[in-house]
């Protein structure tokens, strides 16, 4: 596994994303319209919603956006291109580059989402630093588990719905921890209260990342 190979692959992901800007724009629009649907259907003026609902709703929106955004990382690649990658790159480099790329993509998406969300729904966050940390850890964790699941789902026939079925139960502990951490940040609790959650999030990320790293070569062979 070479560093340069990973960097080249990440660069290639960014280039192809930039060339198909409609996909990225589509995702941002998906995020914005989901937020707007939630905002309208709750019938809210900003600040009318209690913090638990505010927080849970935000993470559910991010979860759905993440599943949609990451799903395309393997499902939309055509067979010829996958065969080409197979012949030139090591599977470990491919999974790591995809995870890093998806993490950056999800981070950008969730920051945009946060901006739009706070604009229409109000901003009850008290400790913005910890909240941003939760967003970063969440993006990393979503990307490492969803990238692997997207690879698994791409092998099956009805991969779109399978992606959600396979990923939701697996990603749930991560979502619960992220929600708990970000709730602490919203209430402006002392930062020492949140160390447990942060450590567990890092541990889950490492565990899932390591599992993807070890298992992906077997998936790649088929």
């Amino acid at each position: 596994m070479k560093k340069s190979q990973i960097l080249t692959l990440i660069k290639k992901e960014f280039l192809s994303e930039w060339r198909q800007r409609y996909a990225l724009n589509g995702m941002i629009l998906y995020l914005a319209s989901t937020i707007f649907v939630c905002y309208m259907s709750f019938g809210l003026k900003s600040g009318n919603i209690d913090t638990i609902t505010w927080n849970a709703l935000f993470w559910i929106i991010i979860l759905f956006t993440a599943v949609n955004a990451v799903a395309k990382s393997f499902i939309q690649e055509n067979d010829g291109r996958l065969l080409y990658y197979y012949s030139i790159a090591r599977p470990e480099s491919i999974i790591i580059s995809k995870i890093i790329y998806n993490a950056i993509l999800l981070l950008v998406l969730s920051l945009i989402g946060m901006l739009v969300y706070t604009l229409v729904m109000g901003n009850p966050i008290q400790d913005i630093g910890v909240y941003l940390l939760a967003v970063v850890l969440g993006a990393l964790g979503f990307s490492s588990s969803l990238t692997m699941i997207s690879g698994i789902a791409s092998k099956a026939s009805n991969s779109g719905s399978l992606m959600a079925v396979l990923s939701f139960p697996i990603i749930l502990p991560l979502v619960l921890m992220v929600i708990r951490l970000s709730k602490n940040a919203m209430d402006g609790l002392d930062r020492s209260v949140s160390t447990d959650e942060i450590l567990i999030l890092v541990a889950i990320n490492l565990l899932v990342g390591a599992a993807s790293f070890l298992l992906f070569p077997y998936l790649w062979k088929s």
Partner: protein, 221 residues
């Protein structure tokens, strides 16, 4: 595991659990009262489930390394019996909760974790059915099996202990297992119950595996 002694041992231990569990004396505790006997039926289900799913995961890894279809069959059958144990654990837990916590589903952290675990393994079976090719099905589902197992450990063992409002003993400030487990009257049935139920589960799985093997040979000829 070709010998019969462990099957007999499993049957004897389960019979011992049922008769002893229902007839022997148990300590009197508030709220729990006689329902504490469910300890011999509800808790072994979870021990059995984790053991069976671990075996399933190990066969998944073996399949990935060796590529022999019989490992895939073993992996899926152990996962199936593990899921049966999960369902039985949920049901026996719901009945117990109905009498001690007041309602069958109290949103307890462990209850939720068990339900999510059930969802994961249902997704595993859906994934298997959506793949046509035998080798591909084996490989992809083995990968998901190992991946899901790695994600399940924090779910089952870490999260309930962190939850502030768990109703299970040993979690969230409730008195630990030792509170009543220390009573040797319970112990002499509880430990054999775990071994007995797990052996029965392994027997069920091995019967299914042998049936599949026979079917496969019949189809091949």
């Amino acid at each position: 595991m070709k010998k019969n002694w462990w099957k007999i041992l499993g049957v004897v231990l389960v019979i011992y659990t049922i008769t002893g569990g229902l007839l022997l004396n148990v300590p009197r505790l508030n709220i729990l009262n006689e329902t504490i006997r469910n300890l011999y039926f509800h808790v072994p289900m979870w021990f059995g489930m984790v053991i069976l799913l671990t075996i399933s995961m190990t066969y998944g890894i073996k399949y990935l390394r060796k590529g022999d279809i019989k490992y895939d069959e073993r992996s899926v059958e152990f996962a199936k019996i593990g899921t049966v144990f999960n369902v039985m654990g949920l049901i026996s837990g719901a009945i117990w909760a109905n009498y001690t916590w007041g309602e069958p589903w109290s949103g307890d952290a462990k209850q939720n974790a068990a339900a999510i675990c059930l969802l994961i393994y249902f997704a595993y079976f859906v994934l298997r059915n959506s793949l046509e090719d035998e080798q591909q099905r084996g490989r992809v589902s083995a990968i998901y099996n190992v991946f899901a197992y790695a994600a399940m450990i924090p779910l089952l063992f870490i999260l309930p202990r962190l939850s502030p409002d768990s109703l299970h003993p040993g979690n969230g400030g409730n008195p630990g297992f030792n509170f009543y487990d220390i009573d040797s009257k319970l112990r002499i049935i509880f430990y054999p119950a775990i071994i007995g139920w797990t052996l029965i589960g392994m027997w069920l799985a091995s019967l299914q595996i042998r049936m599949r093997a026979i079917k496969r040979t019949l189809e091949d000829n």
